[in-house]
Point group: C2
Chain length 235, copies 2
């Protein structure tokens, strides 16, 4: 086997992301603490996010609008302008937060780029993702950047088609079973699952059984070059 | 000359868009009418949009967040939750509004697609633009869809490079001088300006002088096939 294209997810695969959402959501909980218990606030925010997903999509702007909407609902409209402004500012802070690369990300990507064509495939707000890629310092290692509205078998198939690559020659690396692994396996491609310490509820899915063709799991990106070398050995 | 790739802007070139913003902004003005005169409300909203552009980018979600932020500022935080909810609902209505194709758009695109490779190049929210393209009914005529965070000489150069097309063999059609015409002329490409009845202040720019190489202007898309036929005649 020889991989023609190796693609990485970005958020929580190459750099921290969910922690930004967790921090903003903690402040959201504090803001509404005198109205409701934290579990109920979390549950209602998640409901709002799911209800809005079809129209707002993924990303910080969608999250910010869903926080505002939930805050209005949970306070029966009593929330003040200043508090809504605080939520908008949370969103702005998320959009300008320093990019914190995960352990092994920079050296692994640099090393693999010497032998492989690398691609970044990420979902969310177009401008925010572009800005993060630029600020990350690792953009030069990627030949292609693809920002998609959702990661489905269809959207991956479209990306592969545009680049003229067969699924069997494609390897995707990411922290989300739902977005980075399962759609790729469904297409007949190869996927490496690198779990991150926290996963957004919406991205959770069952791990494929051991021995599933094309499915691999590692603990951190430092293990990736060896795994790829093994997979590429003539059998 | 032979065009290898003909690209269309979408919003206000193929379908109505600015009218949705104008309608939402009219309601925004009414909502704040008891606080401020309409001109002042418009000016402050535009200021907020420009200030937020670097982080929020273009599109309905950014516009909605800017409306909310402006409303809080202009009421000194006195705006109630219900009114903020009304602004979020304006955004949702914009995202789900029926696509109204402009005159001649459908038949012109259908006709040109028989002889040319057509592309759609649009900016804004990724999911919203994808959804509009799908709902428009004219997606099948386009070989490629490119959704970019901004329309600059750099972003067009990147798109052309990915598709292996030289600027001189590229024709862009759109209603915005700033976004669809000037960056293309700067690259040495060809651009057709099709003015729309309304233009967002941010997109306004001076029309290039008559005789500028690569620059053409028509009144409506019905005139496009004849113009292209003339340009493609061996001279």
């Amino acid at each position: 086997m020889k991989f023609e294209l190796i693609a990485f997810d970005a958020d929580d695969t190459l750099w921290e992301n969910e922690s930004l959402y967790a921090r903003a959501q903690a402040r959201f909980r504090e803001l509404l603490a005198r109205y409701h218990p934290p579990e109920w606030i979390d549950a209602r925010l998640y409901q709002t996010e799911m209800r809005n997903l079809a129209h707002f999509g993924y990303g910080v702007k969608a999250f910010t609008l869903s926080m505002i909407e939930t805050a209005i609902e949970l306070t029966e409209g009593q929330i003040c302008g200043e508090d809504i402004k605080f939520l908008i500012d949370q969103g702005k802070q998320m959009l300008t937060a320093e990019i914190v690369l995960l352990e092994h990300a920079a050296e692994t990507v640099a090393r693999l780029s010497q032998a492989y064509s690398l691609m970044l495939v990420t979902k969310g707000d177009l401008l925010d993702q572009e800005s993060k890629v630029k600020r990350s310092g690792i953009q030069p290692y990627f030949e292609h950047i693809e920002i998609v509205s959702d990661k489905t078998p269809q959207s991956y198939a479209h990306v592969l088609q545009e680049h003229g690559v067969q699924p069997k020659n494609f390897l995707m690396i990411g922290n989300s079973l739902r977005s980075d692994v399962l759609p790729i396996l469904e297409l007949g491609g190869n996927a490496v699952y690198v779990p991150y310490v926290m996963t957004w509820m919406h991205e959770a899915a069952e791990t494929p059984p051991q021995g599933t063709p094309g499915f691999y799991q590692i603990e951190n990106l430092g293990q990736l070059p060896d795994l790829i070398a093994t997979l590429n050995k003539p059998s």
